[in-house]
């Protein structure tokens, strides 16, 4: 246990255009002791499979750098690399395998045969009315695992979608405030809606959503698709530089910034690209 507490943590946000890394030390008073952002050239992604090769190359260089450093590595995957869907309740399923197969079937209905090459994860329990499922390209996951082989002192302990990191942070920080959670990245936005203890919608969209005006337009549209009641207008936003303002109101929508845990060694203004990495825990 003690040994585990002593191990340093490395959080890596993996995006198509960059890899942001934060080295965290201290079990009881964690602090960021080193920060690094590596950029790469965006590659064309005609089939929307996720342009991950450049990011994987960056991660490989980080893995080499960490090879002799004892640490636990967590990789947060940009929503560019992840697809989400809501899997409806199906009482005829028995066991995890069948549930995952059904989730894979749901992805197949949306994305076609491409979904066969994806690794699927499913959250929640069989009794939930709707469960969030995520899918990631198997090739990307193999590349990530390959960056931290068995002989490396850096141990890969978690590979999690950005939505998972942010939602779990939102659950702790915001309590019952939120109805909507909006995750904004360059050229992408992920919108999750939960009300009454159940998931109502998860959308992951390409596009330019860098300001509150675009967010409001997006929410006005998605609200009808999700069938959410009118009074639910609170939105928690986790974003880079665009989401630093604590509270903004656009029309009926009230946007509040979802803050990361405060860590010594990090400046929210200067280290905006570390936000995705630091929301994981």
């Amino acid at each position: 246990m003690l040994k585990q507490l002593k191990r340093n943590r490395v959080r890596i946000a993996l995006s198509p255009g960059f890899a942001a890394t934060a080295w965290i030390e201290g079990a009881f008073r964690p602090r960021v002791v080193k920060k690094q952002v590596l950029d790469c050239t965006l590659q064309p992604d005609a089939e929307d499979t996720g342009p991950w090769q450049g990011a994987a190359a960056l991660l490989a260089s980080i893995g080499t750098e960490l090879k002799n450093t004892p640490c636990d590595v967590t990789v947060v995957l940009s929503n560019h690399f992840v697809r989400y869907t809501l899997v409806p309740e199906n009482k005829s399923l028995s066991g995890t395998e069948e549930e995952l197969a059904f989730a894979r079937y749901c992805f197949g209905k949306i994305h076609g045969d491409r979904a066969k090459a994806w690794e699927v994860r499913l959250t929640g329990t069989a009794s939930d009315p709707a469960r969030v499922a995520s899918a990631v390209d198997s090739g990307l996951l193999q590349a990530i695992r390959g960056c931290f082989p068995a002989g490396s002192k850096a141990r890969l302990v978690s590979v999690q979608p950005y939505l998972m990191s942010a939602f779990n942070l939102c659950n702790e920080v915001a309590g019952k405030y939120a109805t909507w959670l909006l995750l904004v990245e360059p050229e992408r936005a992920c919108l999750a809606c939960f009300e009454g203890g159940r998931w109502a919608a998860v959308r992951n969209m390409k596009g330019d959503y860098q300001g509150p005006t675009q967010w409001a337009a997006l929410l006005s549209r998605e609200r009808y698709l999700a069938g959410v009641a009118e009074p639910r207008t609170n939105v928690l936003v986790h974003a880079g530089p665009a989401g630093r303002d604590k509270s903004i109101r656009v029309g009926k929508w009230k946007f509040r910034s979802l803050p990361n845990p405060t860590l010594p060694g990090v400046s929210p203004a200067e280290d905006a690209r570390l936000a995705m990495a630091l929301c994981a825990h």
Binding site: R121, T123, S134, Q160, L163, M164, F167
Partner: protein, 171 residues
């Protein structure tokens, strides 16, 4: 809302209630152990008290009088042996020593307060002189020559003799 568990490496975290249940079971087990420990201590104290009462009621088994007398005699013998005036005895024997007499055996009788000496003298004159010298020692009284015998096998015709003397009290 429950946590989202979509990790591709780590297995989903166990539900919090599982940990709470384990903690509760641990607390219950600890509490039951504390209660059990307290009960055992109480039982032990009760047993100790009962045993004390039983011991108090049981009459002490008396030793037979013969055994006590025998033990008393042994104790007295040891005490008398220890209270022999060894220093005076040895001084008296050393003061009486001559070149013509050799002490062969010295045997004190603590019970009777006697000293028996067996010695060998060159001749009769040396023997008598030695007995006379013993008589002059203050620690001894009633010095008697109780046996003497000429060693016929000895070409020098030496005399082996025994002397008995009483040990004076309070010296």
């Amino acid at each position: 809302m429950r946590r989202l568990e979509l990790d591709y490496v780590a297995s989903p975290r166990r539900q919090r209630w599982t940990g709470i249940a384990v903690l509760a079971v641990g607390c219950l087990a600890s509490a039951s152990l504390v209660v059990r420990d307290r009960d055992l201590r109480q039982q032990l104290a009760a047993l100790d008290a009962t045993q004390g009462m039983l011991n108090a009621e049981r009459p002490t088994k008396a030793l037979p009088k013969e055994r006590i007398d025998e033990q008393m005699k042994m104790v007295n013998a040891v005490l008398k042996q220890l209270t022999l005036p060894w220093a005076q005895i040895i001084a008296a024997v050393e003061n009486s020593a001559t070149d013509d007499v050799v002490i062969l055996q010295m045997q004190p009788e603590a019970q009777q307060r006697l000293l028996r000496l067996t010695a060998e003298a060159k001749n009769q004159k040396a023997m008598i002189e030695y007995v006379a010298r013993l008589e002059q020692e203050g620690a001894l009284a009633e010095v008697h020559l109780i046996r003497h015998e000429v060693q016929s096998e000895d070409p020098a015709r030496a005399i082996q003799f025994s002397v008995q003397a009483a040990l004076k009290e309070g010296r």
